[in-house]
Subunit: 274 residues, 2 copies
Amino acid sequence: MTSLALRMKESPIGVFDSGVGGLTVVKSLRRRLPNEQIIYLGDTARLPYGTRSPATVERYAIQTASFLESLNIKMLVIACNTASAVAHGTLRAMYPSMPTLGVIQPGAKQAVRASKSGRIGVIGTEATVSSGAYAKAIAGFNPSAEVVSQACPLFVALAEEGWAEHEAATRLIADRYLEPFRGGRVDTLVLGCTHYPILRDVIADVVGPDVVLIDSGDAVAEEAAILLAASEQLRTSLEPCEDQFFVTDAAGRFRRVAELFLGAALERFETVEL
Amino acid sequence: MTSLALRMKESPIGVFDSGVGGLTVVKSLRRRLPNEQIIYLGDTARLPYGTRSPATVERYAIQTASFLESLNIKMLVIACNTASAVAHGTLRAMYPSMPTLGVIQPGAKQAVRASKSGRIGVIGTEATVSSGAYAKAIAGFNPSAEVVSQACPLFVALAEEGWAEHEAATRLIADRYLEPFRGGRVDTLVLGCTHYPILRDVIADVVGPDVVLIDSGDAVAEEAAILLAASEQLRTSLEPCEDQFFVTDAAGRFRRVAELFLGAALERFETVEL
């Protein structure tokens, strides 16, 4: 093994999102790959990506990915559904030798595997739902699957408020948004926004025990683990390593909400300009 | 009167916000000044301003104001609480000969006038509340006023969803956010975010008939009318004129939500790059 290949094993995984949402993906990666180092970039100066045009999101994704790539990462995870839908192909073409994962393909694949009836629900932001990206990805794995989608715009604000539990309003809003998935109409539901794992318990409660919830963060972490193992790129050093977090603006607000999403305090944390 | 002064009377009023919220201010301006022409810029490519740092918001405000100024406006209205709090002074200094109004001073002034007890409530985004801009402005008009503030982050999403009426969740969320203003603790409440007039009925219902609601949009429209009249700059032509709307991104989404905020269809509507 060359020294370059050895060095690459020790390199971090780069993860980006428009804000705090992608921290639920970091949480999944930490759970599945506890020995890896992660560098996270939250492009808070330009969030949310979900209401931007595709051309704008692609431009932002290229800038954020370039920043992470300059830090010598061995893998890129697009922890943002909008950027995954719009810019995954472009980023893969820009960095042909670096594995680049979005959240949509792994989430769609796990949903198709989990569904017995082939009737799959997808919830996400307005942008993700209207892009049809999950429906397309699911069709790629099972052309006869039926996909029912629902945008849940209030879920992002509810998650950032930390109003997940014991909050009657959250339950009422979930009741309303998740109506299309009740009564056996789907057997699998994709949490197609990185904020939604924060509301997982209330979502599970509303759709009931017969609907399997697919967390795209868990799905991409599984995919990352498989890829790194197959290419012998898993970090082997037993030295502990600290993750590193960057934002492009409003660091105070990010830090406040971050602990809720990550389930832990931020370690090294800086603001950068892209 | 010179031909320049004549031409200026016929010039439009420029209004900007980060997105659709400022359209409630346009609605107020249309009601108060129906003969004026309005040019609106929604900086949707970079919304929301409310989670950005002050330096970033100032930079954006300068760019949006410059765009409007290049269209030969006679008055600039900053229809965004965050930009008013952060950039009003800078914009006034940039354009010393053009009247430049923010929403905070007029809202604070009307609140002080309306309040008998001197106990005034303010609701707004996290950024507006934590800036303390209303509290400072209110203290400028009445140093002994007591100000109680509450951030209501979910109200923006509720307004954009159009979940104002007949929605139990909206009522529960309002009950929770507005708790500090009930039971006679304030006699006046400032709607310190341009989205909130959409939720006016439910807010009024929760705080009760003894609390006067101050709509900053109405307050700035009143101020604009007084200023234009005093400087003999009211439009006198009886030719009908069409308002004009610009956004910097995601025009489709803007148009969809816009009618709800404006209470009318958009007339001339374009996307521009700043």
